[in-house]
Symmetry: D2
Subunit: 306 residues, 4 copies
């Protein structure tokens, strides 16, 4: 028996890259939070303290900013693909690179018919995300690289004020929840979807998936958050042949009907709710095609595998 | 010399009141965070422990929810006025009530031409705020009440990618900042404005002030964040005769030009920035009419006077 | 009638200053979050955009770091006094400087009898705070300066599992709260206390006040959080003749007894509680000497007067 | 090809369970944040909306509170084991249960020699964590259950003011970082360690691991954060034969030496640093025994597998 180094990765997290395109008087802004990490043959850094194979996280940071200029950011996916490829070129010991990007959306400030040329207001709401991983069979090889592109969004807060029930569930001696035919259903959705290839129209695809998620959430009668998520995932896969898999993490943001029974002059027919913080139901689910190879788990995970 | 009780107040903070109007199939949603507090002759509760004059914070909570139904929420200002009045009626020892409301905005999920009837997506971005205070000369009196209505917003994140300079400032031996003719100017604006009376069209007024703030931010050349804020405040007061005063708290969200001088093949003509977290400049200013009586400071302050 | 500039201030917020003293092998660490601001004759910056009287926030930042070395940080109060004085010297247009400091505490990692010489673990728990304001009658004057020192702490989370009641309160038609003889009382205390002069032993004084707050909270039977706070404040003033005033902001962190009445085999005699997030009672109070002049409100307030 | 349901789980997150033991006048407090989830044959809930196999998250919440009384909380691990077992009994369709617990530490308020009987102050600093998973080969089976216990901590913030270098690393054309022989090394450590069996003395084991982590961090010269983590993990495994594996997620909390070169009268010999927020290096690593079977990845992961 011996004690050995297991899975490991390192990188620079949360580089706040803001790219202004100002080739004309009508500027464009791209606002990103970029996290990079490398995996590979880095045992020496851990075991003996020898850093000779380590491309510093500071260099990774520099590269993230430089690539915002040299390569540009037509989409977070395209930018992340370029950055991952660069790191495999620059770090011979690396067998894999993982780039995660969050994108914050800005709107032009409404002045005139087309909005202001160089003044923007941050949109708020959901954040677009991307995780790109590129692997090669061994370090310093010229073999073929394997690439996974996962697109997604976080903090898409949606709510239905009716059209949602929850009943017919399993009961045990500790069950006190009353069945309901009509409740508020609300969640702050995190969704991530994996593309089959690497040449989608990333921006168009993102908008289409987001629209599908919203539309199906709105128009589907809900017997449980699980059913709603499944319908949303199924629709996304049906409409996008280049998406192999979609995953959801959906907190059930409980809105409890306030009990007015003690007040004879006030009734509450589904009109006044208290929005609760904790605890919350948490529903997590995957919808996927059964004929597409699985992706390596670790590369899809959110940062912090510990 | 003796030790005495000084200023004090108590209430229930952050009641998350969600009001659905469902008189027709086309629902409306109002989503609020309501904080209430009372001031007055409550020394007994502090000094002897006698609670007989204290209207419990739990009752304040109940009332906040009940009034969302009984009075309704045509605007946060109108709802807060009703709630403050109620508390002065219900708590004879109170000489003042202060109601603070945050309102989160929701949009209909875009389905069909007019959006879905009962499915909503949270807008994100800035939050609308209101602080209403109602005072009376003494407790249990029938004397005239004094009312202040302060409307506002928080987290309005705006950015100009050009049209901003900073130069000609005072220098001492510790100054290293280089003057600049062209920089990114960005802030996450908090603004609060005090109305002269209590019968404005609150929703229309709010939209008009918000539009003015955005428009002036966009269209004014900036020699400093101070100048921009002043121009924004002046325009608000010029366009709204019922507003006596406006206050700003504006962190200068620094976007530093990334230094590419070490990399011969990359240049940075105002195109790549790093968005910094801390430290940040913080500019706070008031613009007001010189012929309007001042409001009592404490009632305008954000909660937590300590 | 005209529109004019009202109260305003500007500065650099949240400078994260870490000062290591390494004159011997046994290092010391002081870990601060420093916010500076200036008031005075700065109307030109707002109204005409002329920055010639403005000492940039970037210079304020530099000075905060430089003074951590040149002056040192024997206590946050002493450091803040030096910094405020410096800014009045450096910015002739300033009539006042306000320095706010948060201090994070570190312990030596326990190795051997006296802890490690240069390895530390952050203590967590409450944060020590200071607000120092220095004013002069007019700018560029040599007149006498007025100084206020406010010390404090935030996030001191305390809880009593018995010895707390709440009953005998005012009831109206919306009251549903049941009276109780025995409940959990818990708060996350913010306290700030104003010193009479400027030559206290700041570190010793802070420890003594903190101990008093804890001891009185523990040993006083509570008929309401108000009564507990008052007793704590009274004790602080009785034991510290150099303290003129103390202010509290105390959220009532509700711990609700979980209702087990539906489960015949489980009882709950004050043993199982749910810690709630929102809403929460919020009690704010001041205890002060009646023979000490009041301090100017605005200078004592937390940042963000808007 | 068809579209199918993939991995899924559901449960109640962040139940804030506070358990007071008051059998004598000397109370004890246990303060937990409990998240539960179930996996298994729950496809009907997703695909057809049939909830008949679903034990509601509300029932899971009730059970978490009831078990704090019925079973008690001698340690978070022991409590989580009981809770996981209960859910497999109560939900026949479940093939696995995962319980995650955070424990917040409280100290007695120092009054007298032994601290107060029923007044406590929250310790702050790091949080103890546990993840317990119990699986069975199929649902409704009586077959043997497989159990994994992972203990851990988060937010252990440690810093060395010397004894840390970083040099000899790989350089490319985008590298600008200067090598250093002496820097501040600081991290906010997350660590999780997996036990071989299920009958350790959980509290004693936790204290011992925590002490080992601190001691090795303090006493090991660091050529990189990677080397320090590896040494910490190796020591934990050497001293604890019942621990199979330990994982770290360690942000490199950068403390940059402030550049005083522009100020002739001030020097900075490793004495004044700015603590930076973002970006930060992020080092993640595993140290494990090579003769112990791996645990299923998904069950060890933090919540939110999406």
């Amino acid at each position: 028996m011996s004690i050995v180094l297991g899975p490991n990765q390192y990188g620079k997290a949360e580089n706040r890259v803001v790219r202004i395109t100002r080739d004309t008087a009508r500027h464009e802004i791209v606002d990103l939070n970029v996290s990079t990490s490398l995996r590979g043959d880095f045992a020496d850094a851990h075991v003996t303290g020898d850093q000779s194979k380590i491309l510093p996280t500071d260099t990774q940071k520099n590269t993230a900013f430089i690539y915002a200029k040299k390569h540009g950011v037509s989409s977070p996916e395209d930018y992340a693909l370029a950055l991952a490829g660069r790191f495999l070129d620059a770090a011979p010991a690396a067998t894999g690179a993982r780039i995660e990007v969050e994108q914050y959306q800005w709107d032009r400030i409404p002045v005139g018919d087309t909005g202001h040329d160089h003044a923007f207001v941050r949109r708020g709401g959901d954040t677009r995300t991307t995780v790109v991983t590129v692997e090669r069979p061994g370090h310093e090889t010229t073999g073929e690289r394997t690439t996974h592109v996962v697109s997604g969004l976080t903090d898409l807060v949606v709510l239905k004020s009716t059209g949602s029930e929850f009943k017919g569930y399993l009961k045990d001696e500790y069950t006190t929840l009353a069945e309901t035919d009509d409740r508020i259903l609300a969640t702050s959705l995190v969704a991530r979807w994996r593309h089959v290839g690497t040449d989608s129209d990333w921006n168009k695809s993102f908008e289409s998936v987001r629209e599908t998620l919203l539309e199906v959430f709105a128009t589907t009668y809900s017997r449980a958050l699980q059913e709603t998520l499944h319908a949303m995932g199924q629709a996304v896969l049906e409409r996008h042949s280049d998406i192999a898999e979609i995953r959801f993490s959906a907190p059930n943001k409980h809105h409890f009907l306030v009990d007015f029974s003690a007040f004879p002059d006030v009734e509450n027919n589904g009109e006044v709710f208290i929005a609760a913080d904790r605890p919350y139901g948490l529903i997590e689910a995957t919808v996927l095609r059964d004929d597409v190879p699985a992706a390596p788990e670790a590369w899809l995970a959110t940062p912090g595998f510990c």
